[in-house]
């Protein structure tokens, strides 16, 4: 009798949880990436010292670049995905360069670091475009795993 009750409870729980499980596998990975960047943004803004702000941003952008490079090198990544990842990488590299005043960029001033971190997050959160739309769930998931590891 007890077993029967448990089975019923498990079935009912699975039935109600199933739509949630299905959704986690698609768009929510992209959402997790956005949440990750939002946490970094909040950390940067919550830090008083501009040197610390700069270090946080610098490390985050480098982490993203590392993750993208790793995924690009995977044998399962298609040529199309590699091109799209290349565009994404270019965009992140430009932000890193601007933060540090490299490659003809004017270095972001200390007093502008909060605005700059907003800009980095908002750029990621543009209405989904040609770069992010072409990247599959698997690619995004690996990037996320590398970032949070």
């Amino acid at each position: 009798m007890r077993k029967f009750k448990i089975i019923i409870i498990v079935i009912v729980a699975l039935v109600f949880a199933q739509p949630l499980i299905a959704r986690v596998s698609s768009d929510n990975i992209e959402d997790q990436l956005k949440n990750y960047m939002n946490e970094i943004t909040l950390k940067v803004k919550g830090t008083e010292d501009p040197i610390q702000k700069r270090v946080l941003l610098d490390e985050t952008l480098l982490d993203i670049l590392k993750a993208v490079k790793t995924v690009k090198a995977l044998p399962t990544t298609t040529e199309r995905e590699q091109k799209l990842l290349g565009k994404f990488e270019e965009s992140v590299q430009a932000k890193y360069d601007e933060l540090n005043g490299l490659n003809d960029f004017e270095r972001v001033a200390d007093e502008d670091l909060d605005s700059f971190t907003d800009y980095v997050l908002q750029d990621l959160e543009q209405a989904r475009n040609y770069v992010t739309m072409g990247l599959g769930v698997f690619i995004l998931l690996i990037i996320l795993i590398i970032l949070i590891a």
Partner: protein, 383 residues
Amino acid sequence: MFDCAGLRIGDSRVVLKKLLRCVGVLSLMPLILISCQATSVHREEELPPPAGIRYQLVYIIHGDGSYLFHTADGESHYADRRVLNQAFRTAAALNSGEVFIFHQKPRGRFLFFTQSRDGKFYHYRGGEIMNKISYRRRHTPSLWDEEYAYFRHYRADNRTGPGTVEKPLLIILFYGHQVFETDGTEYHGSYPDEPFSTRELADSISLFAAPDESIGAGCVERAPVDLVVLSTCMGGTVGTLKALAPLSHFVIASPESLHLSHMDMSGLHRLEAWNGNDLQSFLTEVVWHTFTELTHLTSTVVSIALYNTAMVAPLLDSISNQYDEKLRNLELDEGIPLEYYDCIEDPLFPQEYGGEGVFILYRPPLFGRDKNKISHSGWECWK
């Protein structure tokens, strides 16, 4: 009546009977719940007189994808739900209008037995909500057949008979991600194989711009939409405008990237005070409102353009062939548009073009390579 927990092992027939009852009730649950999903809020006789309807707004809000974004305070928002709330507020303020709001949601499953409804329709008339209906868009997720069917069924001028009502101003607003000119797959999170490109977008809008049967028998004149609002990234490409121009008198779009907070079109509530003359001037004010809201919220690029489709037609005709050829070449190159740029930077773009038919408000991004760019032609090209 029955008690699933009260089953006793011993009489197998009783157990079987009770089990069947449980299964029966569980299988009926989706039907019971689904039957509650369509709500008519007002009875037909309570509706405002259709003759008073001066304008109709149709919102198509795509929410079947990743629409999460964060405001500067770190608070998370879902773009589609935010637009939905804006649309509700605008609809409630339009006493002389009729508003049809369609929220396209991710597909889900309910109790394994059925797929949940992936669309929700809200119908406002005279500032009052009239109907709330859940519907399925899964048969044609990329075409707005279902949405048009609801519009046609519930619109006020459909009820007054042929030739008895002045055609209201018709505005269609689409909120979503970038709509591609070539490969439109992976647009819908729930239907990745269903393409949604500018072709499907134009085909869907053309449903609303179809021959207007209410004008009178035998009338084959097309009734173009008065305004299409395209709240997506890269909505101001030559190809997109070429697809939409025959369908609408005016188009509002963002030639460059657009932040997920979308275009705030709540300025349309001013329709109530609009005297019905000079639509272009009225829309210019709306564009200013949208632009101001976006520049306050974001540090990324803001570009909002109003296109007078009759006036941009000569330009579109003159560059159409070379644009199509370029597109074909890009398609041969795996069809990946990797970079967009202001068409004015293209030597093949008519350098004598002085912005005829386009009113654009542009604010460069606060950072990045383009932070010193001071203007935009309103036309976006690929390379």
